[in-house]
């Protein structure tokens, strides 16, 4: 007995390690409802996180505004020239939109946009580590948020809800290494799968669009939308713009690097939308 007692600390540590590994394996494959402990801890931290996040957002904005002001005069001339171009473009687009709407009605499509939105939410925290890209939002099951709902901003797709507590939820962003979104290139309707770029250092904030058809003629500048396949994300949400296309000789598919429309560094308000109506 005394020998066992002397080794007790080591045994405890080994047992703890085994217990943690078992817990890890057990919780790895998607638990969707936050447990009671999680809920309480999250609820307690919520106001604190809200406060801290808005303060740091403010400080960040002050500093980045200083940098932006320097370029303002130069940008002003450029922007005015662009404004003229864009107004022309806008007229053309409005025409197209009207046409599009008529065609949509003909094909018995419903404009789902307004009914899709579940709730607006505020980002209150981000994953502290450097390996994953999850965010926490301040709306949960009591506001109607459910697992697998899509999260968007006016700039495009943010990610999807992976876990819901009563008053907050975890969102896996599309730049997270574990995220996979089915996407479609707007111009030539090529399908592909958008994987997060594992948030590796300088490539942070980019996605990789894989499984593009070999004969695809995608070029940098093409826009990527959600395809609606897989039934998690509603069809036609803007994801981002292709900035680079690569093809490995040995591979049967092309790969494109996509810069998401959303600036994950400056995420504040998001919308939760659902696919089932």
């Amino acid at each position: 007995m005394p020998r066992l007692f002397k080794n007790a600390p080591i045994i405890i540590v080994i047992l703890a390690v085994i217990a943690l590994i078992v817990l890890m394996v057990y919780t790895e494959a998607g638990k969707e409802k936050a447990s009671m402990v999680e809920d309480i801890l999250g609820q307690a931290l919520l106001p604190l996180q809200k406060g801290f996040y808005s303060v740091s957002q403010y400080v960040y904005n002050v500093f980045s505004d200083i940098g932006e002001r320097r370029n303002m005069i130069r940008d002003y001339d450029d922007l005015q020239a662009r404004l003229v171009d864009l107004e022309m473009e806008l007229i053309r687009l409005e025409e197209l939109e009207k046409q599009n709407e008529r065609l949509k009605k003909l094909a018995l499509f419903v404009d789902e946009n307004k009914e899709m939105i579940v709730t607006g939410a505020t980002v209150i925290a981000k994953n502290p580590g450097n390996w994953f890209n999850n965010i926490t939002i301040d709306k949960g099951s009591k506001h109607g948020v459910g697992v697998n709902m899509a999260v968007v901003t006016d700039q495009g797709l943010v990610g999807r809800v992976i876990e819901v507590a009563e008053g907050w939820s975890k969102v896996r962003t599309i730049v997270d290494g574990k995220s996979a979104v089915s996407g479609i290139v707007q111009r030539n309707r090529d399908n592909g799968l958008l994987k997060g770029n594992n948030s590796l250092g300088s490539e942070d904030g980019l996605c990789r669009m894989i499984y593009l058809p070999e004969d695809s003629n995608v070029t940098p500048g093409d826009k990527v939308l959600t395809s609606g396949l897989g039934e998690i994300f509603p069809k036609g949400i803007y994801i981002g713009e292709i900035i680079e296309v690569t093809k490995d000789k040995r591979e049967l598919y092309m790969t494109a690097i996509v810069r998401p429309g959303v600036d994950f560094q400056r995420l504040e308000e998001v919308l939760v939308v659902t696919n089932d109506l």
Partner: protein, 171 residues
């Protein structure tokens, strides 16, 4: 009292880490202040404390942000436990020793992370992860060390933090 203070520190740290640190990223890497805290506690208080602080701090991070529960807890507990073994066996000055220990501890932490990534087949190339996450993170974290370690040292000047030692003397 002591437990409450340590818990409060861990909670505050988690809040700061998840809200303010995203805005002070350099080369897209955030420093790991929890690791510095775990190392500081382990160096100053030895083992049950070191391992426990790591376990609890890691668990809180897992619960609020993790993809699973246990990964960060495992990382920080092992780090806390290993550093805790050094307590009393190592002369710890105010500056260089904590820096060195934090550097090694962060490497150990990231080796566990690499192993995890290997087992879930995340496809992250280890070499790239090493140069783009591990090295910058370690350097950035080392910058946080002196101030944090100083803070925790000052904390241990308080009587309530040393309660256990006095209890032993009385015995």
């Amino acid at each position: 009292m002591r437990e409450i203070v340590v818990l409060a520190i861990l909670l505050l740290n988690l809040t700061v880490q998840s809200t303010i640190f995203p805005f002070i990223e350099i080369v897209n890497v955030k420093p790991d202040s929890l690791l510095v805290l775990v190392v500081s506690f382990a160096l100053l208080a030895g083992n049950p404390t070191g391992a426990l602080v790591g376990l609890i701090g890691g668990l809180m991070q897992d619960i609020l942000f993790g993809n699973n529960i246990g990964l960060h807890a495992l990382q920080y507990m092992i780090v806390g436990c290993l550093v805790g073994i050094l307590h009393g066996k190592l002369y710890v000055d105010k500056f260089f020793m904590p820096l060195l220990v934090v550097m090694v501890a962060n490497m150990i932490k990231e080796v566990i992370m690499l192993a995890y990534n290997f087992f879930i087949q995340s496809g992250i190339p280890p070499g790239k992860a090493f140069s783009q996450i591990i090295v910058p993170e370690t350097i950035y974290t080392m910058f946080l060390t002196p101030l944090t370690f100083y803070g925790i040292t000052r904390l241990y000047h308080n009587k309530f933090m040393r309660k256990k030692y006095r209890f032993r003397k009385d015995l």
